[in-house]
Symmetry: C2
Subunit: 290 residues, 2 copies
């Protein structure tokens, strides 16, 4: 395996950007590698709320951009600092690659340092150009959807689709198309960014689209601020999901046609076939030896 | 928040089952909560390969069922031990709720201790019946798909669908339907269980379905054994994906129509709108303040 401590370490004079997933919020769910990256950093860049969650870990290190709400500016600041030779930890909640900071940092770097071997050529050179740009390491974390699922039971045991209901950067038509596609082919559906002040009807529209294909009794979980002080876990149904508070810190997970509720657990079976149909494969996940 | 150390702790005489996600494999990506759960357990239950990955953490604790390949039997063993009053840690790679052990343990418990308030009634009582059954805690972990994504760059920055190509418990027709649905609505697609000895043509069929909707030059990442000794990271294209070794320890991530390759990174932009169209929302993810 790549030794992550030396990962992509090609020029010791360059700065480095760690893009660090801190997990859902409680430090018990933050990995040692995330801790080590923060420990190694000279400067921390992050949104105030998430910096607060891990302030015990950050200690006395300088924290930049805490009052900013603009992600692009925050990432630019991180790049600027790294170009001075600093080691910078960009803090992201959950996993930094799921609707979060990893893509934005890489987008900005690719614009600044130039694209190569991109989508148009599809080249498969396998070579990292030796840019004189900051080193980048992405430290994965427990994503919000898995934290939410763990509190609900096991809703993601079968194929699932993650869909953000934010139409700020994505046409609403495409979001609707994805909701139809996922609902009609029986994916478990995880809704990110289900509602905000400016988008109060999106959750309702999404619910109504899914309900065209799925029973109103389909078990549905609503998890707000998983593993944080204000955590709330609600088990309801597709028909009932709008009766509960849903905000931007909330993830909604709608079960598939086989999902069922048992006590306080939401369970999606690992397959569609009954034991009697499985024959000798009854005990096999089909590959992953979990 | 629920204090996870006291979580669902209702009867101190009952046994307890921790269903523990150890993350991709390297202990640096295993959370402190997972470590604590293993530390608290009297008995460890897990597949040999994954027990080996964390043997330093397990120490001298008894390990059961190491030679089994049958997941159901392993989960039954865990339940049996817990019913004797033991604390049992069931080890799962990645996140235990994503194609892994959490659902199976809950499925078996629900069959054994009886269903209530299930899918048919859709009741929303919010009450956990006081079963005389083992306590259960699901400890989330970094899922394989996020570990793979972090090595590739940021492929999951927009809506994505996770699809297992195993048809042991799921009709192949439904898998094909999902591939069509996800590909036609421009989801980033993560393929789990893409190939095994008995299923050599599934990856090819999946590739061909996706290629009906997506350019052959679409950047595609193949990651085997992320964060393990035999890790391999390949950046290729949809057209080229079958030229590389794909096995059951592999996750394949196919970009969406906007994904691009830059050096050794696979990047999916966080939205479809150009900066110029975004106006004052240019810096807003649309909710998640990452």
């Amino acid at each position: 395996m790549r030794n992550t401590y030396e990962y992509k370490h090609m020029n010791s004079n360059r700065g480095k950007i760690y893009i660090v997933g801190i997990g859902p919020g409680w430090p018990g769910h933050m990995t040692p590698r995330a801790l080590a990256a923060i420990g190694d950093a000279d400067v921390i860049v992050g949104y105030t709320t998430y910096v607060e969650l891990i302030k015990g870990v950050i200690g006395g290190k300088p924290v930049l951009a805490t009052t900013m709400t603009q992600e692009t500016k925050r990432c630019s600041t991180a790049i600027d600092e790294a170009e001075k030779g600093q080691k910078v930890a960009v803090i992201s909640s959950g996993d930094p690659g799921v609707y979060a900071m990893a893509g934005l940092v890489l987008e900005l770097l690719s614009r600044k340092y130039g694209r190569d071997t991109g989508h148009n050529t599809g080249a498969d050179t396998g070579i990292t150009p030796e840019y004189e740009m900051p080193e980048v390491e992405i430290v994965p974390g427990v994503p919000a959807v898995c934290a939410a699922a763990s509190l609900l039971g096991a809703p993601l045991m079968h194929d699932f689709a993650a869909i953000s209901l934010s139409d700020r950067l994505t046409p609403w038509d495409l979001i609707e198309k994805r909701l139809h596609a996922a609902a009609s082919s029986d994916f478990v559906i995880a809704l990110y960014n289900p509602r905000s002040k400016g988008r109060v009807t999106h959750a309702e529209k999404a619910r109504n689209i899914i309900a065209q294909y799925r029973d109103g009794k389909t078990p549905t979980g609503i998890v707000r601020s998983a593993m944080r002080e204000d955590e709330a876990v609600i088990l309801t149904t597709l028909a009932g999901m709008l009766d509960h508070e849903i905000d931007m810190q909330t993830i909604v997970i709608v079960g598939n046609s086989t999902s069922y509720r048992w006590g306080n657990w939401l369970i999606t079976p690992r397959g569609y076939r009954l034991e009697s149909e499985r024959g000798t494969c009854a005990d096999d996940f089909g590959g992953k030896k979990s």
